[in-house]
């Protein structure tokens, strides 16, 4: 049987991992679109790292309260999700509050957040040797460990994110493109900003828990950048971003399985390779269009 046939077979052993890859790959770009448009790409680096720090902190806190971790502890994923979500959401709300107070200062704050989050992740892990191995897996993002239950939860949460993005697309677009106009129209711009950040926080924390910070950041940024080169309208920008993310995640999974590569890096390499290809094609087209006939 061909590798592709094997992966697509309903009885494939890693079927849940494939589905989780495609889900994260398709949904992360939908919130990443707003990161790109609001020129907050660096948040896409800092927040997954902050999410990882949250996971590490939740583990450490649990150790102090409930004692050392035991393999197979049932509360571990929930604990990690809670830590990831609280840290991500807290970080995004604080950083977003400073978003409109000068671009350079904001970028400096995001950089500092990334550095602090990275340092504290390591420190939290070092302070909790019992949870070390399990936590390192979570921080790396163990897509292959996806179970039916965790996939169901991921699908439900990310499905909710997509539905909310669709239902309130005009509100998110208005506050992102021209917040002042939203205020002049009497719209609750602060509320819509908060809902959008909440969606980003949920997507990133579940993305990090499922696939790790590297994959989450890669899919937040690369597919929307690719789609921006191919589309002219807001709706097609979002749709193409999600399609590019989902398809490249699947191709990445195929390559990792076929050539025995680490899954997360293979997926990120695939989606960034497409970005480079499309970018080169777009640049070439511009050069050819400029050449006199």
């Amino acid at each position: 049987m061909s590798t592709l046939g094997e992966i697509l077979h309903p009885g494939f052993l890693l079927r849940d991992a494939v589905a989780a890859s495609v889900l994260v790959g398709a949904v992360c770009p939908l919130v990443g679109v707003y990161f790109i448009l609001r020129r907050m790409i660096f948040l896409g680096v800092a927040l997954p790292q902050l999410s990882a720090a949250g996971i590490a902190f939740a583990f450490l806190l649990n150790r102090f309260i409930a004692g050392p971790h035991l393999p197979g502890h049932t509360n571990v994923p929930a604990l990690a999700r809670l830590g990831a979500f609280v840290f991500t959401l807290g970080g995004i709300l604080v950083l977003a509050a400073f978003e409109r107070r000068g671009r350079e200062v904001v970028e400096a704050r995001i950089g500092v957040t990334y550095a602090i989050a990275g340092a504290f992740t390591i420190l939290f892990v070092a302070a909790d040797p019992w949870g070390d191995a399990q936590m390192v897996n979570l921080l790396k993002g163990d897509l292959l460990a996806t179970t039916g239950g965790s996939l169901g939860l991921l699908a439900a949460v990310l499905g909710g994110v997509v539905l909310t993005l669709i239902l309130f697309q005009k509100e998110f677009l208005l506050v992102s493109f021209d917040r002042e106009l939203a205020l002049v129209f009497g719209k609750a711009a602060g509320l819509w900003d908060t809902v959008l950040y909440l969606l980003c926080g949920v997507t990133i924390s579940f993305g990090v828990m499922t696939a790790g910070p590297l994959v989450t950041f890669g899919f937040l940024v690369a597919p929307p950048l690719t789609a921006r080169l191919l589309t002219r309208h807001m709706v097609s920008f979002s749709v193409v971003s999600a399609i590019v993310g989902g398809v490249t995640a699947f191709i990445g999974f195929y390559c990792a399985y076929r050539y025995d590569l680490p899954l997360g890096p293979a997926e990120v390499a695939t989606t960034t390779a497409l970005l480079v290809l499309v970018g080169a094609g777009s640049g070439l087209r511009r050069i050819l269009q400029r050449r006199p006939a």
Binding site: K170, L173, D178, K187, R232
Partner: protein, 221 residues
């Protein structure tokens, strides 16, 4: 009929007033220009009137329902990010969002309103062009179309002719004066160009040294 009535108003940023003791009436159907040196507070006054800045002291009363008939707000185009993949029609369509509640999508009616607004500023044929690819003057007219799509009582423009060439300036002023003259739309406009106001504006509000005073156009030429 008075559309906007400012009484002893102070406006500023934080607790620091930029303008103080401003008393001003804006009547329905008028064309008023806000003039003054750079940094005098023209935009501050405009932002205060549309509710983007809180009033520090005094009161602003409105002779119309700001939510059912919102301000037609035209910001400085440099404030808007060209990275957004939006067509001219999609930008104009945003004006109709003023009347759309959450969960209500912009449909055929709203698209027709946006298209008609683009046509009224002479840009009906470029509806599908990317907003970022338009010239400065065209962008500004698309923003005027967006403001018109909100079906406003009062059109408020913040330096619509800044950074555009003479031809585009004439086109913009032609659109704005026609909207005032033919459709009776009340206009409040921030500008530095006094000359182009002759025969168009009813009066100017001169903003300087923290004060705003209403004058005839001829007085400031």
């Amino acid at each position: 009929m008075c559309l906007v009535k400012l009484r002893d108003v102070s406006l500023g940023y934080g607790r620091q007033p930029v303008l103080e003791h401003v008393t001003l009436d804006l009547e329905r159907g008028e064309f008023i220009a806000l003039l003054g040196p750079n940094g005098a507070g023209k935009t501050t006054l405009l932002r205060g009137i549309v509710g983007l800045l809180p009033v520090l002291t005094g009161t602003i009363e409105y002779g119309f329902d700001r939510w059912s008939s919102p301000f037609g707000y035209v910001p400085q185009r440099e404030r808007l990010d060209p990275t957004f993949p939006l067509s001219a029609l999609e930008v104009a369509l945003m004006g109709t969002y003023a009347h759309l509640r959450p969960l209500r999508r912009a449909g055929r009616t709203q698209r027709q309103v946006a298209q008609k607004s683009l046509e009224s500023v002479g840009l009906g044929t470029i509806a599908d062009q990317r907003f970022a690819s338009l010239s400065g003057g065209q962008m500004q007219r698309v923003l005027i179309a967006r403001a018109l799509a909100a079906e406003p009582t009062l059109l408020v423009l913040d330096e619509p002719t800044a950074g555009v060439d003479a031809e585009a300036t004439a086109a913009i002023m032609d659109v704005v004066s026609r909207l005032n003259r033919e459709e009776g739309l009340t206009i409040l406009l921030v500008t530095h160009q006094v000359r182009m106001l002759r025969g168009i504006a009813n009066a100017v509000v001169w903003v300087q040294d923290g004060r705003a005073t209403r004058r005839c156009v001829d007085e400031v030429e």
